[in-house]
Amino acid sequence: MDLTAKVTGNILICRVKGELDHHTAEEFRDFVDRGLENNPVKHLILDLTHLSFMDSSGIGVLIGRFKKVNLRGGKVAVVNENKQVSRVFEVSGIYDIIKSYSSISKAVNDL
């Protein structure tokens, strides 16, 4: 799994490359949490353009990050997830709490 982050205003933007499952969930969680703790950000955008696979372990870790961001009054958005990832999102009902956008700029403008 390859993770990169940048801060734009009060938004932490993380790009996720690879596969998010039980094996990689901890690495993902630690990376995002570090970004949230070390930067004065409110919102979180996850660029999933290069996330090739995700299962329900990803849902658990996303809900955990949502709770953290929600506590500071922020929102979580995902960008450009593929069809497989999108189906797992749909089944778990995560679109009720995390909105999806087709580009980072659209997500930034809407937050």
């Binding site: 596969e19 499952d21 039980h22 094996h23 299962d55 329900s56 372990s57 497989q84 189906r87 778990s92």
Partner: protein, 153 residues
């Protein structure tokens, strides 16, 4: 089931084997020429079952997970078996959002994902002995006629 081909994998319950298990199973199933979406469904369902065996079946100790895949003229049957601690209440475990490990940020959606992405999911478990998950999926490309006969018309 009129088994045309089969495979069996034995792997230790290490999390780094989750990706191997789902990719290997999907590669085997690809012989039947499923759609990309059907293959993604199989990968996701296998990933859920294997993860359950690792996290819940074997918890902190290491054991063996056996994955069997059989194919017939309609599709595949995939079996994921562990000899771990078993599930006390299978009905409860299959409920959406139920998890015995909320502290690990588990979503409790594993069985729901398996049920959504496969046509049939059977769970057999005995406390102290282990769990077997059997999942079946028919492929749309094989639905016409009696399967892979080669020439059409």
């Amino acid at each position: 089931m009129n088994v045309k081909n089969f495979m069996e994998l034995r792997i230790p319950s290490k999390s780094q084997n989750e990706a191997f298990a789902r990719v290997a199973t999907a590669a085997f199933a690809s012989q039947l020429d499923p759609t990309i979406e059907e293959l993604a469904d199989i990968k996701t369902a296998v990933s859920e079952a294997v993860t359950n065996s690792i996290i819940h079946g074997y918890e902190d100790c290491e054991g063996i997970i056996i994955i069997k895949c059989r194919m017939d003229e309609h599709g595949v049957e995939i079996e994921v078996r562990d000899e771990g601690k078993g599930i006390e209440d299978v009905e409860q475990a299959r409920q959406p959002l139920y998890t015995s490990k909320p502290e690990l940020e588990r979503s409790g959606m594993g069985f729901t994902v398996m049920e959504t992405f496969m046509d049939e999911v059977e769970v057999h478990s005995e406390k102290g002995k282990g769990t077997v998950v059997i999942m079946r999926k028919k492929f749309a490309s094989l639905a016409k006629g009696q399967g892979v006969s080669g020439n059409e018309g």
